[in-house]
Amino acid sequence: MTEHAATFPVLSCMLLAPLTGLVILLLLKENQKFLIRAVSLIAAGVSLGLALYTFANYDKALGGLQFVEKYEMVKTFGITYFVGVEGLNAPMLLLTGIVIFTGVLTMWELEVRTKEFFIWILALVTGVFGVFMSYDLFMFFLFYEIAVVPMYILILVWGSTRKEYAAMKLTLYLMAGSGLIIPGVLLLYASSGLGTFNMVALHGAHFSPWVQKVAFVLLFFGFGVLAAVWPFHTWSPVGHVAAPTAVSMLHAGVLMKLGSFAILRVAMFLCPEGFQYWAHLMALLATIGIVYGVFVGLAQTDLKYVIGYSSVSHMGIVCLGLSTGTIDGINGSVFQMFAHGIMTALFFSSVGYIYDRTHTRDIHELGGFSKIMPIASAFFITAALCGAGVPGMASFWAELLVFIATVKVYPVNGLLAIAALVVGALFALRVVQSTFFNTPNPKFTHFEDVSPFLGLPRMILIATLVFFGFFPQTMVGMIKSAVVPFLQGM
């Protein structure tokens, strides 16, 4: 693909903003809470701004990689610092920016070990940005792990239910995933014979079908663990339940997207033949995930478990779209990555607000929250409806695209997935009903509603959802500008 160098290093700044914030935080004292929050908010804000800038200023007509920066890192092994923006990762960068910004706002009231918390959050975010923007396999993987590991500490210190178990499980599971990714990546590196990790260059190399098949399956499952591809999803509900609010937001909102994005960016991009070979498996697992997720979610009573399983289902949709390998499908699934990211962030921030007050997430114990805290429940209900695929929200379009593409390629899977929507609606409404409707639980009636300040991040999220629900073309056009050449490349 064509590359257009950046006039000034936007992406590096985007990457350095959280890093700088982190360094500043290291120098601050634990008791300077406001300063700590402010610094991290500014850091997040700067990166969000830059993400918006890239999203707005990306020239769709020009296409290709833009804002490119390249520096040699290790000549001997052909490692370069190679970042750029195209239609595929611009939405992801925007997503990350929005989620981290709102996440920091959401955790504004955190009092326990504030400094460390924001340090780790910023570290994580740096990793995420790095993954989305880097086009060098080595750096890609490096950032990938940076993004994954802080979860352990974040969950362990600030988490809630069964956190030791969850944190260890999550980290090891994802690391096992990298255990598959490393050989896959290195196999590609070695068999290309180019001695470079530069993805664009590797894309030019002609891998033998065997290599492609092996590498693809390794990469697919390796990254699939993070994308909660069935049956490698069980870490995700447990992890969500244990994680603190902002971490859940980042994790479900952004980290799981890392997995699916990597499947697209690395696995499918570098081994098309492998993809052709395994596509049916992908579609199958994705479909199982979709159906399975909603049905298991139907039986959960812990709010976060419910959301966790809905994420499994929605990520299944993403994966399904990818597996079609058509323009519509990939448009849809990237869009879905974005939409679902925002949506789950909204979910978790609302749940987090309620949980922080009531210290329970059992939907039978809760109830009537529309009366107690109408705004907070409005937020949650919006998210739930978005999850149920109600039009006017971004995710509706994403699902529409994916389903149409899927029915075209895999009719059975497609129809099954569509049918699962009913159950999806059922379990979304079931949660809404038993949490927010009916008569309030007297224990909780004294809690006050979301303050405007804390409402702000949720409003931002809803606004994003609705905006892209009404103007899907802004997103789809962006994605399409990259998908078309992408598929020609395959």
Binding site: A299, G332, P391, F396, I404, A405, F437, N438, Q473, K480
Partner: protein, 639 residues
Amino acid sequence: MGSCDPVLLACLATVLLPLLAFALIMIFTWRRPNLSLAISLTASTIPVIIAWTLFFKLDVSKPIIYNFDWLVSETVKVPFGFLLDPTSMVMLVIVATISWLVQIYSIGYMSGDPGFGRFYADLSLFALAMLTLVISSGLLQLYIAWELVGLASYLLIGFWYEKFSASEAGKKAFVVTRFGDIGFFMGLVFLTLFYGSLDIASVNSAAVAKSMPPWLITTSALLIFCGIMGKSAQFPIHVWLPDAMEGPTPVSALLHSATMVAAGVFLLTRIFPFFAASATAMTVVLCISTITLILSSTVGMVATDIKQVWAYSTVSQLGFMAMGLAASGLAAGTLFPGYYHLTTHAAFKALLFLCSGVFIHHFGTNDFFTMATNGGRKLYIPMVTITIASLALAGIFPFSGFFSKEAILGALAQLDNKMWLILGLFGAFLTAYYSFRVIFVMLFPKPGAYGKVPGHVEEEAHSHGGHGHDEGHGVPWVMSFPLLVLAFFTCILGFCQEYLQKFLLGEAHPHHIEYTLLFSAVGCALGGIALAWYDWGRKDAKCVGFISKFPALQNFFIQKWYMDHFWRWFLNTFIYGTFSRIFTYNDRRVVDGGVDAVAFSTIGSGRLLSFLQTAFVQLNMLFMVLVLAGVGLYLLMGR
């Protein structure tokens, strides 16, 4: 593009004003009743004006179409646009007017309700969705509006969410209609993939038949009809509509009788040529709608809750419309009869509900026996209007219902198989019976005589909301005004037949009256009324209904043909009982268990291997030597 075009601006205003109102109220003014009311009313009044102006001023004999790109992917191209043709114009007027009337009515009905602002926000949301649905140019846009209408219905049914039954009903409505919509969606997917365009105009064109094989057309048509079944509460997924009466009565009047549920039938008329292209599909429609008609009329006969009666009557009338359309589809007729009935029905059914709303509001009960015994007839305006409406519903000359029903029966009569006609007449008979059952009970109450009526419990009605006023003037004008307007329409619509026909079809068929049909129809209606009189009206009526002669049957009807039981059983057995439980178990035990097993076995193997490090240094050295020897041997062999 032509943003200077006044018609386009009008359309945009019609759609966007309610949206604006919804947003404003939801974000800012939902705590302020009056402000919200003002906003919402403005946003609903302007569309009414627009609608009527367009209806009279605009010449839509050849459709006016606006299309803008909304989403352009590869095969998926979704335009956002408006299609103004006779069909949509009429519906536009209906929707705009009734929702406007209902909003006025609700000022009185909902006064003092804590959720007043929210109520009007939801009404605006509904208006937005419904208007978009009516004038949308593409099926996908229509589907989106369709879903939003469902959403609004969900919010409004569950408006009093503290009531478990209400929130439950809302959920039920959403999920059941969604169940149908899935079919609709699949149908659209098929059309997209195999036909390529979802533009209503082109779907109705003959090109479809050329580019799609018949079986595919039938499949798509039936799939889309699933959506219609859901929305228009056709058997077997009609079960949500009666429960939907949990919502405030204005809502029932607007959504669940006049407009939203009619959207299904509207869709049927919208792509009537497409449906007509497949005889199979039309036959299926005919069967289902007939079953619906009979089922709901029979249930309506035994209901004691006034809203339930009208709810089931709505279901039956929707079935009746569908019958009409299907019949004319099969007999190469026009969409006029069904559509005409839709129009008239919108008026008189809304009227029925609003009247009942007055009673309910006044007596604080839904049981019309109680209302009657508490002197419901003394509320003159509603009493008169409800009687008019019932006459229309029963199909008595000169009220609108008479003409539209007669038209539908005419369409049925054109079928070779007269069985349909007979069933239709039977339905008309039952309709007349149950509607006048209500009316006679209300008019000639017999206190203490209703003890034997199944489902009715003698209760002392508590005057609702502490209105200190005595009967007669107990109705605030904001509530009585809409009644009068609607009553007016109910009376005159019948004589607009030619005009409407001309408007819809371009040319008016000479209205030749088949007297046999006419008399049989009127006969059925009168027979029903007479029976009602015999059972409920006359001085020494037994007040149990003829149906009590057949207790089994009566019970069957009271249990609503056990449809609710069936669905509940289905849900519990399959969804929750089987899939959900199995998958959950599998998730916890098999999938997750497997993961944990791997982890623990790793640790176990570590513990096992740690015994290799014995405390006896010599054992270790022995091991060392042996391994060394092994490697040496391997190398020697490999040499």
